[in-house]
């Protein structure tokens, strides 16, 4: 007010467009908002949001969270059986799955198929029918991977004997796990569980894991940030495209693989397995993201998202300042391209923990770095750049460790702020594969999916309550 008459007016117009025209016609500086009611038009959330938008407690908490996440130095440290890393898996019959909690009755086809496969793998049942019966009668406990510091793509099923990658924070105590990638085609994560799938899983447990473990012990932990940063510069976004990262990892492993104590036949199998699977690095990328994000989980007043995950029925998020609560909404459908012979009617709703990569600023958030897959996920190279720029507008900061050449080597969007998502009506976008709705058919396409805004609205409401910011009752009620 004190300076209003002496400084040039810079006007933001919210609402009637004709007012902008008048201001411009009179030579004024005006920016027209592409406004729509925030929070899906929910008045009370909108009012609470207005109080939180520049709340210093939230700002400080978010800055601290961002610094904490940036300080994490994820290293690929080890491979160990799940039951050794997650003691609960050895105490009772329990299987982990992708996304927020889901009961057997509600599980989608691919997840049920993967559960059956895991039961067979663990030899808790001899036939698929028996396995289903076991799973459906409550003898097996199901829990999200996320509850045990783990992540799994698609169905994301982890059983006690499966080997898991261990990605640790070299600067701290944090640690995250992920399964090993099986490749494409008929695989457990898409719900397939025939003998070929089970044989491969057993080979991964008995041959692949011990060899890679020895290699890792010889080479020492592999520092992941530089490798991931380099792969972004080589066209990966570390969710749907991991070709560069897989190649870089392959280079790092190869000499020590040749030197290790196992048979040449097995070494060749291992080398071949990695060489033929461009997604081999995906699970490592996911664990690296998980260890970075977990470092910032549980900070009071922090409005940053620490997990986004899908179980094929629901999409869920967790937010740093709201503890272990999952805020969920029905899983979105994927917009994208289908392989020949398949269509939307065949698709399972969005599935998997791999959205952890978007949560950490990769995947669709870094799509501008990966123009090569823009078409695969149904768009142009320009769309890819636009997606990254849009995602930047809902991120609290950028990650200077990971840069995008096309955007003047600026950092990837980092730290999804639920306030911004709700205020700006811009939801996180995810690169994703499309699973067939029936178990075992596999991947039938790829595309983009939009996170449902309802989760973010619910999280914001909860954060508002925790801030003691219950909005003043609106006039209509008072």
């Amino acid at each position: 007010m004190t300076t209003l008459f002496t400084e040039p007016l810079k006007i933001v117009n919210v609402g009637l467009r004709s007012f902008s025209d008048s201001i411009a016609a009179a030579g004024g500086q005006v920016l027209e908002l592409d406004w729509q009611p925030p929070a899906n038009g929910q008045i009370e959330t909108g009012r609470a949001l207005a109080r939180m938008i520049v709340d210093s407690r939230v700002e400080e908490a978010n800055k601290f969270a961002l610094q904490t996440m940036l300080a994490v130095d994820p290293v690929l440290k080890d491979i160990l059986p799940a039951k050794e890393l997650i003691p609960e898996l050895s105490k009772r019959k329990m299987l982990l799955h992708a996304g927020p909690p889901v009961m057997w009755e509600k599980m989608c086809g691919p997840m049920r198929g993967a559960i059956v496969g895991a039961v067979l793998l663990e030899r808790w049942a001899a036939t698929a029918e028996e396995a289903e019966r076991l799973a459906s009668c409550g003898d097996i406990e199901f829990a999200p991977c996320h509850h045990f510091g783990a992540v799994g793509p698609m169905a994301g099923v982890i059983s006690p004997s499966m080997p898991l990658w261990v990605v640790a924070d070299a600067n701290g105590e944090g640690c995250a796990y992920s399964s090993l990638n099986e490749g494409l085609g008929k695989v457990l994560r898409f719900g397939a569980h025939d003998s070929g799938v089970l044989d491969r899983l057993r080979w991964m447990k008995d041959v692949l894991a011990p060899i890679l473990r020895e290699v890792l012990h010889t080479s020492g932990s592999i520092v992941l940030k530089p490798l991931m940063a380099q792969s972004l510069h080589m066209g990966d976004e570390l969710h749907n495209r991991n070709s560069a990262a897989t190649s870089l990892l392959f280079k790092r492993l190869m000499v020590d693989l040749l030197k290790c104590s196992h048979s040449d036949a097995h070494k060749v199998e291992v080398a071949n397995f990695i060489a033929l699977n461009d997604h081999f690095f995906l699970n490592i990328s996911m664990a690296a993201c998980k260890v970075m994000l977990d470092a910032a989980h549980g900070i009071a007043h922090c409005s940053l998202v620490t997990a986004m995950a899908r179980n094929g029925m629901e999409f869920g998020i967790r937010v740093s300042g709201t503890g272990s609560t999952w805020f969920t909404a029905p899983a979105p459908t994927v917009r994208g391209l289908f392989f020949a012979g398949f269509g939307e009617q065949d698709a399972s709703p969005d599935l998997g923990d791999s959205a952890i990569t978007e949560t950490a600023g990769f995947g669709a958030f870094s799509l501008a770095a990966a123009p090569a897959i823009a078409q695969f996920v149904g768009g142009s190279a320009e769309d890819a750049v636009s997606t990254t720029l849009r995602m930047r507008r809902i991120a609290f900061g950028v990650n200077p460790a990971f840069t995008i050449p096309f955007l003047a080597f600026s950092g990837t969007p980092f730290g999804i702020d639920v306030r911004r998502v709700v205020d700006r009506s811009i939801v996180p976008i995810m690169d994703t594969g499309i699973a067939h709705r029936e178990a075992g058919v596999g991947q039938i396409g790829a595309g983009l999916s939009n996170a449902p805004i309802e989760c973010f609205i619910a999280a914001l409401d909860e954060l508002g309550r925790k801030l003691g910011n219950s909005p003043p009752p609106s006039g209509k009620q008072s």
């Binding site: 007010m1 004190t2 209003l4 008459f5 400084e7 040039p8 007016l9 810079k10 006007i11 933001v12 117009n13 919210v14 609402g15 009637l16 004709s18 007012f19 008048s22 201001i23 016609a25 009179a26 030579g27 004024g28 500086q29 920016l31 908002l33 592409d34 406004w35 729509q36 009611p37 925030p38 038009g41 008045i43 909108g46 009012r47 949001l49 207005a50 109080r51 938008i53 520049v54 320009e382 750049v385 636009s386 720029l389 849009r390 507008r393 911004r420 205020d423 700006r424 009506s425 811009i426 003043p472 609106s474 006039g475 209509k476 008072s478």
Partner: protein, 525 residues
């Protein structure tokens, strides 16, 4: 019918965009056919075959040819519109920019795109305005809230927040402001000068500023406060803040305060604060008789017109003119002369106002002379119309009130509501005078006079000489610089035999005089 052509050189466009353009132009009034094509030989041949271009035209394959066939006046305007649209369609396609520009969807996002943004103009649906206003204030912006329907408690809370942030919150329900020469909402094109206005009555501020402008004195700032600012609950928070700002503003020499029916307690606090200023202050509180001696820097005006006249005189450092309390003799004579043909039954005034303050002032002036005046927004609650869609006796309507505007554009923007009501009143055999305001300036209808006159021309002949036509009395709130062209608007109205008064107050007095003369004549017979 005439055909005009325009060749826009070296301007390649795809045919779909051009066809869409032509379709839009063809829909304009007075346009019979329109074409927009790249001027290739084959396109020229096509246009020749339908008689849109002559044989002699040469091909320019990289230029756009616009051809419009229609009525003389209309096609010039259509061509201007076509050229503007043509420039417009190219903007989104500029390579590189579209991808890099993410349209801002929220105020915070806008502050990232426009660093230093210092004012938010909010005209969202009312239920969202509270949150948007709070965001703007917390983001460090001043706010003008055009939206209405904000809860009173929220208004009080947010105005306190604004004060705490050292920002100003104009509104809610603030229709008019002008800061540093930039119009916000409904405002006229005004010369800059020494008179600063703080108003809780939007069209009131427009009227005062227009009258000041007509006296060739300029306006420094117009600060809107919102309709309820001078209520007990709000306590003139914005008005006091605005007045203090103008007191400190070097370019402001005279301050005008305009409000309608303020709380008496708040008004006296405001007057107390005004008296302490070093600058002259003109106070115009419609509907409240101020019980203060006029002394020192304080000048009380009873009408918007007097406020403007006083302010202009003070701005020119001239002695204050006497208050205008009666109809000038020339208009008095006109009233007498025009009322003569009216029949005995034609004895009522019907006011159809787009400006709330105009409606209020007209009611004040009419009531004084004619007694009971019915309204949807009456001065005396006794006279509230039970059905706002049905006039009775003397009726003065605020067509911009929520009763009428719910789900409709404001009558200053969209004439339909007023035209329909005008038709009703013309058809009523008891109506002597239809009294209306016409607001020009930014934000208002592009050519309201033509709309009104067209309706008159259609409607009045329907009376078929069964009785004398009711007299149309109007005041036009506009300046020569306004986009609608004041001269054209006045000329259009005059040609339709509309009586034009120089101010809203004069128009109300003219309408009153006509009815009074008719009564005298009636009694004499």
């Amino acid at each position: 019918m005439t055909i005009i052509e325009k060749l826009v050189s070296n301007f390649y466009q795809d045919s779909v965009a051009l066809m869409q353009l032509a379709t839009r132009i063809e829909k304009l009034d007075g346009v019979r056919r329109a074409a927009a094509v790249m001027a290739t030989q084959s396109n020229l041949d096509l246009l020749k075959s339908i008689g849109l271009v002559g044989a002699e035209r040469k091909a320019h394959p990289n230029s756009v040819l616009i051809v419009i066939d229609g009525e003389g006046d209309a096609i010039d305007a259509a061509l201007i519109s076509a050229e503007r649209d043509l420039r417009h369609i190219t903007q989104p396609k500029t390579a590189g920019q579209s991808v890099l520009r993410i349209a801002p969807t929220s105020l915070q996002m806008a502050t990232e795109d426009m660093p230093g943004a210092n004012l938010a103009l909010i005209s969202t649906p009312g239920e969202y305005a509270t949150a948007e206003t709070e965001k703007a204030l917390r983001l460090g912006m001043n706010v003008m809230v055009f939206s209405s329907d904000m809860d009173l408690a929220d208004e009080a809370r947010l105005k306190a927040l604004a004060q705490q942030q050292q920002k100003i919150m104009m509104g809610p329900d603030c229709g008019t402001a002008m800061l540093n020469g930039i119009p916000l909402g409904f405002a006229n094109v005004l010369r800059r000068g020494p008179v600063g206005i703080v108003a809780s009555a939007g069209t009131g501020a427009q009227e005062v500023s227009v009258i000041v402008d007509r006296a060739e004195v300029g306006i420094s700032q117009i600060i809107g406060c919102g309709a309820r600012d001078l209520s007990d609950e709000i306590g003139a928070a914005t008005l006091l803040q605005g007045m203090a700002a103008l007191a400190n503003d070097e370019s402001t020499q005279v301050i005008v305060l305009v409000a309608k029916h303020p709380s008496a307690a708040v008004a006296s606090r405001v007057v107390g604060a005004a008296k302490r200023l070093k600058k002259p202050v003109v106070v115009n509180f419609l509907g409240l008789t101020l019980d203060v001696p006029e002394a020192g820097n304080l000048h009380i005006a009873q009408t918007l017109e007097d406020s403007g006249r006083f302010a202009a005189a003070l701005g020119l450092a001239q002695p204050l003119p006497p208050a205008q309390t009666a109809l000038p003799p020339a208009l008095q004579k006109l009233a007498k002369c025009r009322s003569a043909p009216l029949s005995r039954r034609q004895r009522y005034v019907r006011g159809l106002f787009s400006g709330g303050t105009f409606c209020y002032e007209a009611q004040m002036l009419l009531e004084r002379e004619l007694g009971a005046v019915w309204s949807n927004t009456p001065l005396d609650p006794t006279y509230v119309l039970s059905d706002a869609w049905q006039s009775r006796e003397h009726t003065i309507l605020d067509l911009g009130d929520a009763t009428f505007t719910h789900g409709r554009p404001h009558p200053m923007i969209d004439l339909r509501l007023r035209l329909d009501r005008m038709y009703e009143e013309i058809m009523d055999p008891e109506v002597a005078v239809i009294l209306m305001d016409l607001v020009l300036g930014y934000g208002a209808h592009p050519d309201p006079a033509s709309g009104i006159v067209q309706k008159l021309v259609e409607t009045l002949p329907l009376l078929k000489g069964s009785r004398p036509e009711p007299i149309i009395v109007m005041s036009v709130c506009g300046t020569p610089g306004d986009p609608q062209s004041l001269d054209n608007q006045l000329e259009t109205l005059r040609q339709a035999d509309v009586l034009i008064a120089p101010s809203n107050a004069a128009a109300a007095r003219l309408a009153t005089a006509i009815v009074q003369h008719r009564r005298l004549v009636g009694e004499a017979i």
